[in-house]
């Protein structure tokens, strides 16, 4: 008779949970869910050896274990630190963690081009989410940012090294999913870059998964390049009988056009697992099957994480559990109160009463002429959109 496995009790931000020995703090926190889960930019549960690099998941260990309740002196990377029985972890309840994390976010952004408006990843970019949730409003960086030439590595993938945060996930994909790795990290420090030797093409049945694991827009799908913003597309889950991979995908459509195909993602932005096996998809499914008739549609993609994609037309989206009030004893704080900063959004201001820029009718050479907007006027007449 196998003995029942003893579970470890771990307390994260005052919420206690039992987990199997060998679970990392991050995965324990994911079992709780919500805000107590540290953000993870480099760890990827399906890629062995990943994590420990980006340092966004740092947490404070207030008590190491029941046996040795001393606190750990340094903040630890929760993705690579395993829980002990009786461990007490502080994430959002620790000022030190929040401060260090804001620092990491600021540092991750100093060399980032912030070219979201022209980046295909915008809307599903983990760095956007991270900086929105954990970052500062501005930067203190005043120098030129490092830049690299963009590079087509093979027919399907484009590399924008400038956007890369060197999480190493794509190298693990190449190591663990494809026969040979032909790309890697050259040079070191802030001049390190992902590259292939002499722009060798990355062409391997499963190489496309690098695009899915890349948390930013450094590796993007060339077949989707500039086709659309992700939040204008309709993602639906679909499948086909594929001899190479699981064939379970999300197709991103506009009308009847299949703009791109990706693996399905779970609530942590990782590729979904089926029966414990990660649902990586092959390049044929991803790049070559761009007709609706190639796929059996299952239904709308389930959006169970916050994202601009879910700001789109979704009914019945599953929202992550709210734990912040429970943990902090107060409702969440707004990063900034827009009403304090901008006149435009003050609730008591009548938006339609603010003069707009001159129109072709009112301009007559005077850039300061007040414009009028027929729609506004119409709305005014009907009493819509005003706070009278």
């Amino acid at each position: 008779m196998a003995e029942e496995k003893k579970l470890f009790k771990v307390t994260i931000d005052n919420i206690t949970i039992d987990v199997a020995p060998g679970t990392s703090i991050l995965n324990a926190a994911r079992q709780i869910g919500g805000e107590v889960t540290p953000p993870a930019m480099c760890y990827y549960s399906k890629l062995q050896g990943s994590g420990g690099k980006c340092r966004t998941c740092l947490v404070e260990v207030a008590a190491g274990s029941t046996a040795d309740p001393r606190p750990m002196p340094k903040l630890v990377a929760s993705c690579r630190t395993n829980v002990m029985d009786g461990m007490v972890v502080k994430n959002i309840t620790s000022e030190r963690v929040l401060d260090a994390r804001a620092g990491v976010v600021e540092l991750l952004l100093i060399n980032h081009p912030l070219d979201c408006p022209i980046c295909d990843q915008a809307g599903e970019c983990h760095l956007q989410d991270l900086s929105y949730e954990h970052g500062r409003e501005g930067t203190r960086y005043e120098f030129t940012r490092r830049t690299f030439e963009k590079e087509d590595i093979g027919p399907y993938i484009q590399l924008h090294m400038t956007r890369c945060i060197l999480c190493y996930r794509c190298t693990y994909v190449a190591d663990q999913l494809t026969d040979t790795r032909v790309h890697g990290i050259l040079d070191r420090g802030d001049h390190a870059e992902i590259s292939t030797y002499i722009s060798k093409a990355i062409a391997n049945d499963f190489s496309g998964n690098m695009i899915d694991v890349c948390p930013v827009g450094a590796l993007t799908d060339r077949t989707f390049r500039f086709k659309n913003r992700v939040w204008f597309t309709k993602p639906v889950d679909a499948h086909r009988d594929c001899p190479t991979c699981c064939g379970k995908v999300t197709i991103w459509n506009r009308g009847d056009e299949v703009l791109r195909v990706t693996a399905r993602k779970d609530q942590w932005g990782e590729v979904q697992s089926y029966d414990g096996k990660p649902g990586w998809i092959c390049n044929t499914c991803r790049f070559d099957k761009k007709n609706l008739s190639d796929w059996v549609i299952e239904g709308p993609m389930e959006v169970n994480r916050h994202s601009v994609i879910s700001a789109n037309h979704y009914v019945g989206a599953v929202k992550p559990q709210e734990t912040i009030t429970e943990v902090m004893g107060r409702p969440p704080k707004l990063l900034m109160d827009i009403h304090k900063i901008s006149d435009v959004n003050k609730p008591e201001v009548d938006l339609s009463a603010i003069p707009g820029p001159p129109t072709s009718e009112t301009y007559e050479g005077n850039p300061r002429a007040i414009g009028h907007n027929p729609t506004d006027e119409k709305a005014n007449e009907q009493g819509i959109g005003t706070t009278k």
């Binding site: 994590g51 420990g52 690099k53 980006c54 340092r55 966004t56 740092l58 002196p73 340094k74 903040l75 990377a77 690579r80 260090a100 620092g103 990491v104 600021e106 540092l107 991750l108 100093i110 060399n111 203190r140 960086y141 120098f143 490092r146 945060i165 060197l166 190493y168 890697g184 990290i185 040079d187 070191r188 420090g189 802030d190 001049h191 390190a192």
Partner: protein, 450 residues
């Protein structure tokens, strides 16, 4: 005259050759260890000696050895860290260049204690000529039955290999070193697991500095207890200090850790005082990574005690008013030196040497370098100084390996002790361009800010 245990024979003519080395009493410790002691007893002697790692962290060597996991049927390795790339540190080079057999001898004894049948020397790539010296010594040792199978009839087998690095400071960090030794990119590993459990090729491994391993020879020859009598407190034995900067006599000195910093700088036996009749301004006592100290805090601790050349005394006062023994790279700055420029130079080094794995170190080192260059060029702002402080705080302790800390500490200490020099650069942008040194008043002892 302090005692010399490592370098006492280093200048005997032809000591590099096996015959002379043997005639001068070389390889006695191997005879003693292999014939009369068990591996555990060797480890016990090293524990008793109180020897602390000479590579920088000062971790007790005997304790490190006893942590080595010993699972059945899995090889164990000893790796000697000869990467020595810390600016200001050049003691290992001296030892290996002048008396290479001492390292080989120490490695055989240590390998015996640890049960390592294949031991490695990982040497920095730029020391190319020393590789030849070491390989020559290994061949001679082998020809005379000190290496290979069944050493001196004891039944113990051991081989030593030399591996050259490719010019990266980070490969001195022990786990990066192991990665590099395995033929991979020299990225530090995430710990745990520690090398004592999973090191080279996932086998239990001990990584020690060159000087640490060399010190095992006198420990076995004289006994751990005898060795522990030299020095003060927990700083036992002798330590090699590589002194450089504005002193009369730069070079490698062996000290027995009983002398004061003042004596070390000013006595003719060691540095011989500040060169060109200038005054002492500041000093980095343990290699570029440790905090810089202004003259007054260097010679006396904040409590007013004489600062000694020992692990404890150099660290007295923590990082507020103390520093560290580190790797023994003793860098002296006279009154003509500019702390801002100096800090910039160090920041440039760390930026160049960061492996780029973790975000705080990769991005933070580059940012600090740019800000420091601005201040140094007279383009800085007052807020830049606070910003620098904040950036170093965001790096320190938040990274995978201690290089992040090593990049943060020099900046933090420079601002802590020489903030007015930074401010002077900001306020006098033009004057700071005309002269390459900062405020000369540091030659006079400063008020200690608690």
């Amino acid at each position: 005259m302090g005692r010399k245990l490592l370098l006492d024979k280093a200048h005997v003519e032809n000591i590099r050759s096996y015959d002379v080395y043997r005639r001068e009493g070389g390889y006695r410790s191997v005879e003693k260890a292999l014939k009369t002691l068990s591996p555990e007893q060797v480890t016990e002697e090293v524990k008793k000696s109180g020897l602390r790692g000479r590579g920088g962290a000062g971790f007790p060597t005997g304790m490190k050895w006893s942590f080595l996991a010993k699972p059945e049927g899995v090889p164990r390795y000893l790796v000697v860290n000869a990467d020595e790339s810390e600016p200001g540190t050049f003691k290992d080079r001296y030892l290996m260049e002048f008396i290479p057999h001492l390292l080989i001898e120490g490695m055989i004894v240590s390998s015996f204690a640890l049960g390592s049948h294949r031991s490695y020397i990982y040497i920095r790539g730029e020391y190319s000529w020393i590789v030849d010296i070491l390989e020559q010594a290994i061949i001679e040792a082998k020809n005379n039955g000190w290496l290979g199978k069944n050493i001196q009839g004891s039944g113990f087998d051991c081989e030593i290999y030399v591996q050259r690095g490719a010019g990266a400071y980070i490969c001195g960090e022990e786990t990066a070193l192991l990665e590099s030794l395995e033929g991979k990119r020299g990225n530090p590993r995430i710990k745990p697991p520690f090398p004592a459990v999973k090191g080279l090729w996932d086998c239990p491994t001990v990584v020690n500095n060159v000087e640490t391993i060399a010190a095992v020879v006198p420990i076995i020859n004289e006994g751990g207890d005898e060795y522990a009598k030299i020095g003060t407190g927990k700083s036992t034995g002798t330590k090699l200090i590589s002194a450089c900067g504005n002193i009369k006599k730069q070079g490698v000195f062996e000290i027995d850790m009983t002398i004061s910093v003042e004596e070390f700088i000013y006595s003719d036996e060691y540095c011989g005082g500040i060169a060109n009749g200038k005054k002492l301004k500041a000093c980095i006592p343990g290699g570029s990574s440790v905090p810089i100290l202004p003259a007054n805090l260097l010679l006396k601790t904040a409590k007013g005690e004489t600062r000694m050349m020992t692990y404890e005394s150099l660290a007295d006062g923590g990082f507020q008013t103390g520093s560290m023994m580190g790797s023994g790279g003793f860098i002296v700055l006279d009154e003509m030196q500019c702390v801002v420029r100096h800090t910039y130079t160090l920041a440039r080094f760390y930026r160049h040497e960061s492996c780029g794995q973790c975000s705080p170190c990769r991005e933070g080192t580059g940012w600090m370098e740019k800000i420091l260059l601005n201040i140094e060029k007279g383009k800085g702002k007052m807020t830049d100084i606070d910003l620098l402080w904040d950036i170093q705080r965001k790096i320190e302790g938040n990274t995978i390996c201690p290089l992040g800390d090593a990049a943060a500490w020099p900046v933090a200490a420079a601002i802590r002790h020489f903030r007015d020099e930074f401010e002077w650069h900001v306020l006098n942008p033009e004057e700071s361009q005309r002269r390459n040194y900062g405020l000369a008043n540091y030659a006079q002892p400063l008020q200690v800010v608690a």
